[in-house]
């Protein structure tokens, strides 16, 4: 009998975990359950395990158990204090060779994307980027179920399902917010295994002289509860002020579709879509966005979507829960008015 391991890279910086790590533990648990029957028949064990690198991060390993890991391999060392490509990929590559996971999931964050390609190359295995659906599926010619990794291609215009037949692990990167956050269970038990760190300062080949935290704007659009987004239909960059007013009133942030970023009206950090961020807020208001596929793939998992567009046939209405056909410069001021009235009435 063998142990079929479903692995997740637990991403942290400065002792703070990136929530995509928990989302991926949820995915790994789902994938593991899809092979449970098959594994039972062959007498194999199926486990979900996390790999965590950093310095003084044992508390995060403990959290990972609460979010569904059966076991966490912990590499805790000053050389891993902050993220650097070389020591991180060498460590992951070595631990992967040691235990031989079947599946290895990494968050498609700036850190994870830097890391995943290096790990996959060093392990000489397949990696599918930015997956939006994952499944352990039956494939002709394979005794075991394989990871079917589906991702958008050509700017979201088609979906391609990729598989990696022979090499292991089967690696995928997944963007934050594509999958829901699993329940945290503080009674969950599991094991934390401290591993030997072999990476050295000399092998790092790079060091960070300085971290510059941007002073002005910092948007965390991925985890915002409310997003008010604008597109070409705004007509003028001034229109963003109106969106900001609505976002402020709702305690949300402003998003944008690609044309606004391309015209330099607003920074890349605000971009929602395949070439920007994937979001799943509780409320998404799309104003003057036609709804190109590349935008829709980035926001269609939002809980509730209100679209405002003057064209009744705009594709954005296909994903909206409510579509308002009309002029956004009339609709949004009316929204502000009604929200303010509602707040006053309940105050």
């Amino acid at each position: 009998m063998t142990i079929r391991r479903f692995w997740v890279f637990i991403e942290q910086e400065e002792g703070k975990v990136h929530p995509v790590s928990w989302e991926l533990l949820g995915v790994a648990r789902m994938l593991a359950s899809q092979v449970a029957e098959e594994a039972a028949a062959t007498g194999d064990d199926v486990v979900v395990e996390g790999v965590l690198l950093g310095e003084n991060v044992e508390h995060i390993a403990q959290e990972a158990l609460y979010y569904g890991a059966d076991r966490v391999y912990l590499f805790d060392d000053p050389v891993l204090a902050y993220y650097r490509n070389c020591p991180y990929y060498q460590t992951l590559s070595a631990v992967s060779k040691k235990y031989g996971p079947e599946v290895f999931l990494i968050g498609a964050t700036t850190l994870g994307r830097d890391l995943a390609g290096a790990v996959a190359t060093s392990l000489h295995t397949g990696l599918t980027a930015d997956c939006t659906a994952l499944e352990m599926g039956e494939v002709k010619g394979s005794q075991k179920r394989l990871l079917l990794a589906t991702r958008p291609a050509f700017g979201g215009n088609i979906m391609a399902t990729i598989l990696c037949r022979n090499e292991r692990p089967q690696m995928s990167s997944v963007r934050p917010r594509v999958f829901p956050m699993p329940e945290r269970n503080p009674d969950a038990k599991g094991e934390i295994v401290r591993e030997e760190v072999e990476a050295t300062e000399e092998s790092a080949m790079a060091c960070v002289l300085e971290f510059i935290h941007s002073k002005g704007e910092s948007v965390n659009i991925e985890y915002a509860d409310v997003i008010v987004s604008g597109g070409r239909g705004l007509g003028t960059p001034e229109g963003l002020k109106l969106l900001q007013e609505l976002a402020d009133e709702l305690g949300g942030v402003v998003g944008a579709s690609r044309p606004l970023i391309d015209s330099g009206w607003i920074s890349y950090a605000h971009q929602v879509g395949q070439s920007g961020r994937t979001v799943r807020p509780k409320l998404y208001i799309a104003a003057g966005i036609s709804g190109a596929l590349q935008h829709k793939v980035g926001m269609q998992n939002s809980d509730f979507i209100i679209a405002i567009n003057s064209d009744p046939n705009a594709p954005i209405f296909d994903v909206a829960d409510v579509g308002i056909v009309g002029d956004l410069y009339q609709v949004i001021p009316e929204m502000l008015k009604q929200i303010r009235a509602l707040k006053e009435a309940t105050a």
Partner: protein, 279 residues
């Protein structure tokens, strides 16, 4: 002498891709092929450093003969030498096989003429994987700086560079040894207008064509489909979502339309959120 290598890819302009509404197929006809925008900005930065330090810029691409136009465009933008890896056996490569062919070629060029900086775009707009740059760095055993936004310093004598990279959380100022591989954001450099001599030179420029036959010795089982652990299992159009309800302000009036939308949101439990914004 300073030598920069820039890897460029020709891509379909994805902003112009359309789906045939009847067949659900990708319409490729009439979609212009362009140099991957991130690569163009990386090239501009390489040329800027050549102008400061002297030396030269080599561009490298892998693809069919039609990619020659992209290498000519690179010469127009200031590249001195172009190498096109072209062979039917390279076709169908995933990111792992692509990184193998590029890395072997960069090794060979480096032996002829030592390279200090290797530039990639942060990702290609057709695949969006951002995997090939890190893969090549691993194969060459070089440091990598992804999401580079600024090169502050290149010191050839001391063999080091200082580069700024932008992550989700902050900007890092990274010191690395040379050679180093960078993957670049657009803000690394503006694309300049081509000077007339480069423009004229580019019209007649023929890149070097490198194949399986040489000058590199590629392992047959590492290239193309054979060297690719991943395969495309199936393709399809994205699933159609269930459209919601629509209200037209011309019929209902503005006030009613907003009321209608908020009423629906309310039923979906969003009203608390609207009030929660009162902080």
């Amino acid at each position: 002498m300073f030598h920069a290598l820039v890897a460029v890819k020709q891509v379909p302009d994805t902003t112009n891709i359309r789906i045939d509404s009847e067949t659900g197929n990708l319409v490729r006809e009439g979609v212009p092929a362009i140099m991957n925008p991130y690569d163009a900005h990386a090239l501009a930065e390489a040329v800027r450093w050549k102008q400061q330090l002297g030396g030269k810029v080599t561009v490298l691409s892998m693809g069919p003969n039609s990619f020659i136009s992209t290498l000519r465009e690179a010469v127009e933008l200031g590249a001195d030498r172009g190498v096109l890896l072209t062979d039917r056996k390279f076709a169908g490569a995933d990111t792992l096989a692509t990184s193998y062919v590029l890395a072997e070629t960069i090794k060979a060029i480096h032996e002829q003429d030592p390279i200090h900086l290797i530039f990639f775009g942060k990702q290609a707009i057709d695949g969006d994987t951002a995997q090939v740059g890190p893969g090549v760095a691993v194969r060459l055993g070089l440091p990598i700086v992804t999401y580079a936004v600024k090169i502050r310093e290149v010191n050839l004598e001391e063999g080091r560079a200082v580069i700024e990279r932008k992550t989700e959380r902050w900007t890092e100022v990274v010191e690395t040894s040379l050679p180093v591989l960078l993957t670049c954001e657009k803000e690394i450099a503006e694309i300049p207008f081509a000077p007339l001599p480069d423009l004229i030179r580019s019209l007649r420029y023929d890149p070097e064509m490198w194949t399986m036959e040489g000058p590199c010795n590629f392992e047959l089982d590492q290239v193309g489909v054979k060297g690719s652990p991943t395969i495309v299992y199936k393709m399809g159009t994205p699933p159609l979502p269930q459209p919601g309800e629509q209200i037209n302000t011309r019929e209902s009036g503005i006030e009613e339309a907003v009321k209608f939308a908020f009423d629906k949101a309310n039923k979906a439990g969003i009203v608390k959120l609207i009030l929660g914004g009162a902080r």
